[in-house]
């Protein structure tokens, strides 16, 4: 029997058509495959549930509402949630989520800055500079991230003094001193003066936000003017003045509403001020440098994808090299850069789950570590963890897609 494409004369539909009729065949294959996949998933799922039931462990998320009983190091997440050991497991998960978001955000910002700068320098005509960047890229790209995290952390803890080294003895001598009497760099973290928000400081913040927006508006206007009329206004210093001058003036007019709280050594550790813990810094630097190496290559590829004629044309017009880069090359390179950049952002975010190696309390360490272990709810915790990372990745992809669309070649 050969396959037929025309419907058989007059007579209705035959079951064999599902296989032999090319109009239906592909549909049949898809439906069958789909059913097989569903069956396989169902089989795995029910097997899992049955086996868990055998072990007496039916999936149950009730544990999330029970008392966690463990403490999480102080820091961003803990202070926002107000977490103590009397909080619930779900609170612990939120502390972890906030910490993950913090390090992912900081990492993405720094990795982008490093990647763009290194990517441009990698193409530098200066032999030394471009070689140095190549060394950076190869060193970070080819060594596992976990090693970098642990290495950076080890260097930070071994090379800095303990808090108690700052204690002044009877002779008035200490083993270590604070920088400017304000900053203490210890093997547990960096202690900085923190702001004390007095009355009226709200006004100050509002004015600052408004001035930053003002500075951005100015830049936009200057750029439009340049493109429309060719008149070049200075870009950098007016923007800085607009952003900062009003707040500084207001600060004194309002009688210094924001004070500084200096860290002081008391007991075992410094207290007061702000603390940036070593695990956070180590994780942040390692993630940024590692991902930055990949971004460097993406940026380089992006720049090289812009045809040489573009830079030649811009040079012919008499534009300076750095303006050529920022106004002509990079905007065009962006179209090539953004899609792979998105996947680097996703990598960085997911790689932040290595945090536990240095004891940074991210969501993998709280929900997927201590909570999982203390409650024994491996399946539930891993499921929630998976959902969280999935949601976060989708959000990042979405934002980057929006950004990508705004950068696309606008056909006129």
């Amino acid at each position: 029997m050969s396959s037929i494409s025309d419907s058989p004369r007059g007579s209705g539909f035959h079951l064999s058509q599902l296989i032999y009729d090319t109009r239906y065949r592909s549909m049949t294959i898809q439906v069958v495959t789909f059913l097989l996949v569903v069956l396989a998933i169902w089989q795995l799922g029910s097997n899992l549930l049955a086996n868990l039931a055998n072990l007496g462990q039916e999936p149950d998320f009730g544990f999330l509402d029970s008392r966690a009983g463990y403490d999480i190091g102080s820091g961003f997440g803990t202070s926002i949630i107000g977490y103590t050991s009397a909080s619930t497991h779900i609170d612990a998960a939120f502390v972890g989520i906030l910490n993950t978001l913090l390090v992912a955000f900081l990492g993405i910002v720094l990795a982008t800055i490093i990647g763009v700068i290194a990517g441009v320098l990698r193409l530098s005509k200066n032999w030394l500079v471009s070689r140095l960047m190549a060394v950076y890229v190869e060193a970070f790209r080819n060594v596992p991230l976990l090693l970098w995290i642990v290495l950076i952390y080890a260097v930070m803890t071994e090379s800095t003094p303990q808090p108690r080294a700052f204690r002044v003895d009877e002779a008035g001598i200490a083993d270590a001193y604070m920088v400017f009497d304000a900053i203490a760099i210890t093997n547990r973290g960096v202690y900085l003066p923190g702001p004390i928000w007095g009355p009226n400081s709200g006004i100050l913040i509002a004015v600052f936000i408004a001035s930053v927006i003002g500075a951005l508006v100015y830049r936009r206007y200057a750029k439009k003017l340049l493109f429309d009329t060719g008149r070049l206004l200075p870009m950098v210093w007016p923007a800085i003045v607009i952003a900062f001058l009003p707040v500084i003036l207001l600060f004194f007019v309002l009688g210094r509403p924001v004070g500084l709280d200096y860290p002081v050594l008391g007991g075992f550790n410094f207290s007061g001020g702000m603390q940036i813990s070593n695990p956070l810094v180590a994780l942040w630097l390692a993630l940024s440098l590692y991902t930055g190496a990949f971004i460097t290559e993406i940026v380089r590829a992006g720049i090289l994808s812009v045809s040489k004629g573009q830079s030649e044309a811009s040079e012919a017009l008499g534009m300076r090299a750095n303006r050529t880069m920022s106004l002509i090359i990079l905007p065009q390179a962006m179209r090539v850069i953004i899609p792979p950049l998105t996947s680097q952002y996703l990598n960085l975010t997911k790689n932040s789950s290595l945090a536990i190696a240095v004891g940074y309390p991210d969501v993998r360490a709280t929900l997927g570590g201590i909570t999982l272990n203390q409650t024994g709810r491996a399946l539930e915790c891993m499921l929630l963890l998976g959902l969280f990372y999935l949601a976060l990745s989708l959000i990042i992809s979405f934002v980057m897609n929006v950004f990508n669309n705004s950068m696309k070649l606008q056909e006129r």
Partner: protein, 339 residues
């Protein structure tokens, strides 16, 4: 780490529940060796020696069980586990027995579906600090940075203790004892807290042990014992009675020195005869040959010998028997009768 947990989850899902209800003894016999979960390295309790041979107080429990089954104390595959991975390793069937300084608690026994087969070390949680800190009591630790192993009872006790005493601390979560030791010595934390026996063992490996003190407070009860999966009672019985045999042997004066003589012919103590298999059929009751306990005791000696050799007062760790003496000596060790 991440992988282990995840693979563990998958395995729990896939194979293991089957293994959990099936006869572990048959699996072990078919495999030809016992898979025993131990620490990643805690001198005196479980650590490989210079030749890579595992030795220690917990290791000897594994060896005794292997000897009881196979007559060969080396028929053991040691699987290093961290505080976080140990339970997944056991419930997934990766190991048959977990002997790793593990505290017997109600939720581990019930909710996590394990069965503790006894206690081989009665312990409590303590604190270690550098001597030059000048701290003499745990109550002085307000504001201290504390190294703790995650996934342990230690971290829960610590939270409770500081809360009850209304003092604060900064936890540094750590995965293995080796890592904790490194962080503590580097001064990344002021205090290291874990089971007092673990502290003593850790301190023994320091270059200058005398520079560190254990604080007087013991803040919890930590009955440490081996455990198996819940659901295979035959396997639970077998391992439990091997442990009991080691304890009873000390009480009854069976040692590695005299065991050859004692088991050659029936003695005039019937209980000794029943344990050593020269009388009665106790071995058959747990599915083993009648010389099971003899082999178990010959593997590393009786409980007292195991204790003295690995962690006793003549070792660098130098732990006194204390609560871990026989009930006849004022301790808590008390093996039920062999009959």
């Amino acid at each position: 780490m991440k992988n282990t947990v995840f693979l563990g989850t998958l395995t729990v899902a896939g194979l293991c529940a089957a293994a959990a209800s099936a006869a572990t003894l048959d699996d072990v016999k078919a495999r030809g060796n016992l898979n025993c979960g131990v620490t990643t390295g805690l001198t005196g309790f479980a650590a490989p020696d210079a030749n890579g041979v595992w030795e220690g107080f917990d290791v000897d429990v594994c060896r005794a069980v292997a000897a009881a089954i196979f007559g060969d104390k080396n028929a053991v595959q040691f699987v290093p586990t961290t505080g976080e991975t140990r339970f997944t390793a056991l419930s997934s069937g990766e190991i048959d027995l977990l002997a790793r300084n593990t505290t017997w608690t109600m939720s581990r026994d019930t909710d996590l579906s394990f069965d503790f087969i006894g206690v081989n070390y009665y312990d409590g949680q303590g604190f270690m600090v550098p001597k030059n800190l000048g701290v003499t009591s745990a109550k002085d630790l307000d504001g201290a940075t504390v190294c703790i192993q995650t996934g342990t009872t230690t971290e829960l006790n610590l939270a409770d203790y500081f809360r009850a005493n209304n003092i604060s601390y900064e936890p540094v979560p750590i995965q293995t004892n080796a890592e904790a030791q490194q962080q503590y010595l580097a001064g990344a934390c002021d205090v290291y807290t874990t089971d007092a026996s673990g502290l003593a063992a850790t301190r023994a490996t320091f270059e200058a042990p005398a520079d560190h003190v254990l604080l007087p407070e013991i803040i919890s009860k930590e009955p440490l014992g081996p455990l198996v999966r819940h659901g295979d009672n035959e396997w639970g019985d077998l391992t439990m009675w091997v442990l009991n045999a080691l304890i009873a042997a000390e009480e009854l004066g069976i040692t590695s020195a005299n065991i050859a003589d004692m088991s050659a012919a029936p003695t005039n103590n019937p209980e000794v005869n029943r344990i050593l298999g020269t009388e009665g059929e106790l071995g058959a009751m747990i599915g083993l040959e009648n010389d099971w306990a003899k082999n178990a005791i010959m593997a590393g000696g009786n409980y007292g010998e195991i204790f003295e050799r690995n962690i006793g007062e003549n070792t660098p760790i130098g732990l006194a028997r204390g609560l871990n003496a026989q009930w006849t000596e004022g301790g808590l060790l008390y093996a039920p009768p062999f009959r």
